[in-house]
Symmetry: C2
Subunit: 208 residues, 2 copies
């Protein structure tokens, strides 16, 4: 699947291809050329062909790309052909927002449990009865359950404190919403969403 080395830039673009292909699929469009997709996505056709070709010949000369096939293949590359078990650390508003977002579950990201320092405070907030455990039970929980991804929806300091517990507990990936970088060993990946940095980039753009 990953014959040639895939650059970070391409990986960042893949989910957007996936989104547009999903839309085309919904519209009942069967095939698409790099030129037409280029017009819709506002990227060059050349880049589309370069990107897609990294994964092997999905296209066909004179025809273009089969939407359904390409959608499925990109889904596979992104790892969306399997499911993931998640826990959410932090049952505040952000943790609730993530837990209650239906779209993630649809894609195979299943939230198994939530954790909070103060689980009583958030009685009944979670979605579909996901239980909120006390944070002190985290280590034991990870000992008893196989968890692929932990979502950190807590402040920076506790996020740094909890990270080693997650790593020791066998978590493979951390989706980090805390305003801090995290140190993890090579076998664990971190994907950060720094909301305040995104907002600063917006304010920069407004002023320039």
């Amino acid at each position: 699947m990953d014959n040639k080395a895939i650059s970070k830039a391409v990986i960042n673009r893949l989910p957007r291809y996936y989104r547009y292909l999903g839309q085309l699929l919904d519209q009942g469009i069967e095939r698409i050329s790099s030129g037409e997709l280029s017009r819709r996505m506002n990227v060059t056709a050349s880049q589309i062909r370069q990107d897609l070709n990294l994964f092997g010949g999905f296209g066909q000369q004179g025809y273009g790309y089969n939407v359904a096939h390409l959608y499925e293949e990109i889904g596979k590359i992104l790892g969306l052909d399997r499911s993931y078990s998640l826990i959410v650390i932090g049952a505040g508003k952000l943790g609730q927002a993530i837990s209650s977002y239906f779209g993630f579950e649809k894609r195979g990201f299943k939230i198994e449990a939530m954790f909070d320092r103060d689980p009583d405070k958030y009685g009944g907030v979670s979605y579909r009865g996901t239980r909120i455990h006390p944070l002190s039970d985290l280590q034991e929980y990870l000992h008893d359950h196989v968890i692929d991804i932990a979502v950190l929806a807590i402040p920076a300091d506790p996020a740094r404190t909890i990270t080693p517990i997650l790593v020791d507990g066998g978590v493979r990936g951390i989706w980090n919403f805390a305003h801090t970088d995290l140190e993890v060993p090579d076998n664990v990946v971190v994907q950060s969403v720094h909301l305040s940095e995104s907002l600063m980039q917006l304010s920069y753009k407004i002023n320039h």
Copy 2:
């Protein structure tokens, strides 16, 4: 302030510099060399010097950079030396999470109002008494108030529908959490946070 052209890559890094400098400031550290900062941030010293030099000589040979001064200057470049009026469209969990995040207000991002198709549903959810208006009042509201930034915490379809109302209403920037691209004229900027794409990037990394 912006003598030389500033690349997108540098802008994306600025908030991270700002965060680290803020930490140094909290730790009472007065000066920092590009070498020491490089060690802490895991980037090359060369890149730090290149980046910071775009904005004019903040450093001093043989000394390094004055933390407080550099922090302030980067804040100015990011537009954090002024305040912004915001509205949040969508009073669901995500809209609530954003509205109730105290850090934004501290940085001068002031949430003036929230809007929802169904404002009664979310009675009393907002932070510090920010009022939730019916979405049907949006146009009139924007006529009567100067709003810098609109936050879109709603699904893709309504986000596309509402965008022209925001643009006509004089909004300067849109912080977009909807899973869609938005079309806006040149005088309006869009900063998107595509959470589902971020999660897909994480799943890609876990599998490769």
